[in-house]
Amino acid sequence: MDIAEVLKHTSPDLFIPDLEASDKTAALAGLVEGLISGTDIQNPDTILQMLQSRENLGSTAVGPGIAFPHGRTLAVQRLTILIARCPAGVDFDSEDGDPTKLFFMLIAPPQDTGHQYIKSLAALIDCIQDADLREKLMAAGDYESFCEAMREG
């Protein structure tokens, strides 16, 4: 799946340029809060519980300084992606112990039978392997330039 396709599932309202979080729990809560305020999605508790369970299964901080909280829940009707930067970094239980500074959160409905969200995850993970790109993403002034950098790879 190409990155432009993946980015169709997000929006300027689903971009948090400077998330502040002291720990993993606060970071997840901040991401869900952003999701609720940027969409008409309701039921934050259900989403938070699902994400927490997913983290208990294994941390989603698998990129260098990047985490991909994800999962399926009845609380959403379509694949929705929230992007957040946390310039100060937060401990998200990454394997290398490095703080997480960038989040791509993917929330999919149970009936996402085309497995769009796994394909989107794969495309995002592939895209951010480039260290120069990661620097550009952290420095991007706004949502548009963030997406532009992603599309240019």
Binding site: I41, Q42, N43, D45, T46, Q49, M50, S53, R54, N56, L57, G58, S59, T60, V62, G63, G71, R72, T73, L74, A75, V76, Q77, E95, P110, Q111, H115, I118, L121, A122, I125
Partner: protein, 112 residues
């Protein structure tokens, strides 16, 4: 939302996660994700299930066996399980007195 429905939705989300981990775990692992907490997640699932009233829990099991999913969202006044119309008297997120079932297929209804 009815507290029991909230639990049922959480249970179904968790069952979905367990199923996905079992069926597509390797695909996720190929992307770098790890699933070391699988046994703990199964325990958490049982703990959650034990909080659900026995009659609802057995209804959930029966429907899951029959349809795959027991709880379905109501979208545009339709049960998304069988596409039967849900009477407007049901359409109330504020109706927290009971967990509503589709009169046609019996699935448990959730208003997202």
């Amino acid at each position: 939302m009815h507290p029991q429905l909230q639990l049922l939705v959480a249970l179904q989300d968790m069952d979905e996660m367990l199923r996905e981990t079992e069926e597509q775990g390797e695909e996720f692992e190929g992307l770098g994700f790890k699933h070391g907490g699988l046994e703990d997640l199964k325990k958490a699932r049982e703990e959650l299930a034990s909080k659900i009233e026995p009659s609802l829990a057995s209804w959930y099991r029966r429907l899951t066996g029959k349809f795959g999913h027991a709880v379905v969202p109501v979208v545009g006044n339709l049960c998304t399980g069988c596409f039967a119309n849900i009477p407007s008297s049901f359409v109330s997120k504020t109706n927290v007195n009971k967990v509503q079932k589709c009169e046609s297929c019996g699935r448990l209804l959730y208003w997202p």
